[in-house]
């Protein structure tokens, strides 16, 4: 596997926690990989199976959702629903020839900037270990595909989004 493999990872981030945690990580000037591309959701409960599949189908090397700590969802159980859907996708992926480890569910609070950075690093390492998504095609943007799939539920990102810049310098 090429050492220069730079994965493209889609993160469905809850507006109340992980998205704010990413901001905090930025303000704290924490290092985390530039591999992650965020899509802001009002709650990870809005995440659907098809959003994850469309991202992977378009070649995303990994996809994860980052929602509030369990028990602290702004909408009570949205993060628990997200976990169930991700577990379901984990079952579907081997059928189509992809590793279930390419999707994951994480939980964090808005105050956990370092946790956001740790998760981004950990997941990136995991995906680097798995190697590129074999479905990746030249000229297809996984982030654009994922945004399109989730267009009815995603929130507008302030442009340029903090993650688009990569790690804070």
């Amino acid at each position: 596997m090429a050492d220069d493999f730079e994965p493209e990872i889609i993160v469905f981030a809850c507006h109340y926690c992980a998205y704010a945690a990413a901001d905090l990580a930025g303000s704290m000037r924490l290092q985390y990989p530039s591999t992650i591309r965020m899509i802001k959701l009002p709650c990870t409960g809005k995440l659907e199976v098809i959003h994850l599949l469309r991202a992977l189908e378009a070649g995303a090397d990994g996809v994860y959702a980052a929602g509030c700590l369990e028990g602290e969802c702004h909408y009570l159980k949205g993060n628990l629903w997200a976990r169930k859907r991700i577990e379901h996708v984990k079952k579907l992926l081997p059928e189509v020839g992809l590793e279930p480890e390419r999707v994951e569910m994480y939980n964090m609070s808005s105050a956990q900037g370092p946790e956001f950075a740790r998760v981004a690093t950990e997941f990136t390492e995991r995906i680097k270990g798995l190697g590129p998504n074999p479905l990746r095609r030249h000229g297809v943007s996984p982030h654009a595909a994922a945004r399109d799939a989730a267009k009815d539920v995603a929130m507008p990102d302030p442009s340029p989004a903090p993650t688009e810049k990569g790690p804070a310098e």
Binding site: E48, V49, I50, L53, R54, L56, E57, L92, E95, V96, G97, L98, P134, L135
Partner: protein, 227 residues
């Protein structure tokens, strides 16, 4: 309602093997309500099929659509153009919808992506329990509104058998979950209704000729037929 479960992915792959243009057709009535074959599930299956084809290096076009009700031909007109373009239609409707498609678009190849399994009642969100066998000769007026034909593992007309224990059947589900003994339920509800003497009546052999044993059935409402 009619419930169905998606077939194993490998079986679906076999059914569409060798076809270049696949249309996954959902149905937005019963199978959508039981979260198996609505537009959402059709989109998921189409995405999976595309990923699998790409992973295997096969050139296959997979699209999805959904009809409001595949069992009624007027709704099939709305998706006819997409059906015409496809080499094979992978229907996610119940067995009725799949056959309705196959008949309407003959000789188009229409194959099932689901196994239609029962006439079920939603017990709670995402859980269904079999409630009716469409036997054509309903007896539940005498059995406290509980169907012995499908809810008793042995379809006893005069239960319970000796395998009833603590209100549970001797049979478990394939997942080894306990099943309520229908006749224990009937006994308890008849008692609650003050009609337990009905348990002492011997119900005669069932007339299975009114069920599918009698051959394919047909129902006609003369009074409602178009003039």
């Amino acid at each position: 309602m009619i419930t169905a479960e998606r077939k194993p992915f490998d079986e679906i792959l076999t059914l569409v093997d060798g076809h270049k243009k696949v249309l996954v057709a959902g149905c937005d009535t019963c199978v959508a309500i039981c979260l198996t074959g609505g537009e959402k599930e059709a989109e998921i299956l189409a995405s999976e099929l595309r990923m699998k084809a790409q992973a295997d290096g096969r050139e296959v076009e997979v699209e999805h659509t959904a009809a409001i009700r595949q069992c009624e031909w007027e709704y099939l007109d709305m998706i006819a153009a997409k059906v015409e373009e496809a080499d094979v239609v992978l229907s996610m409707a119940c067995g009725i919808g799949i056959q309705s498609m196959a008949e309407k678009f003959e000789p188009k190849l229409v194959v099932p992506a689901v196994n239609t399994n029962m006439l079920g009642m939603p017990q709670e969100h995402a859980v269904w329990l079999e409630r009716c066998g469409a036997c054509g000769d309903c007896v539940i007026g005498e059995t406290a509104g509980i169907c012995p034909v499908v809810r008793c593992s042995k379809s006893l007309m005069n239960g319970p058998c000796g395998g009833s224990h603590d209100g549970k059947c001797e049979v478990t589900t394939p997942e080894k979950e306990e099943i309520d003994c229908a006749w224990a339920l009937i006994w308890e509800r008849l008692k609650a209704q003050g009609r337990e003497e009905l348990m002492e009546v011997t119900r005669p052999p069932k007339n299975w000729s009114k069920s599918s044993s009698g051959g394919p059935r047909k129902m006609v409402k003369e009074e409602a037929k178009p003039v």
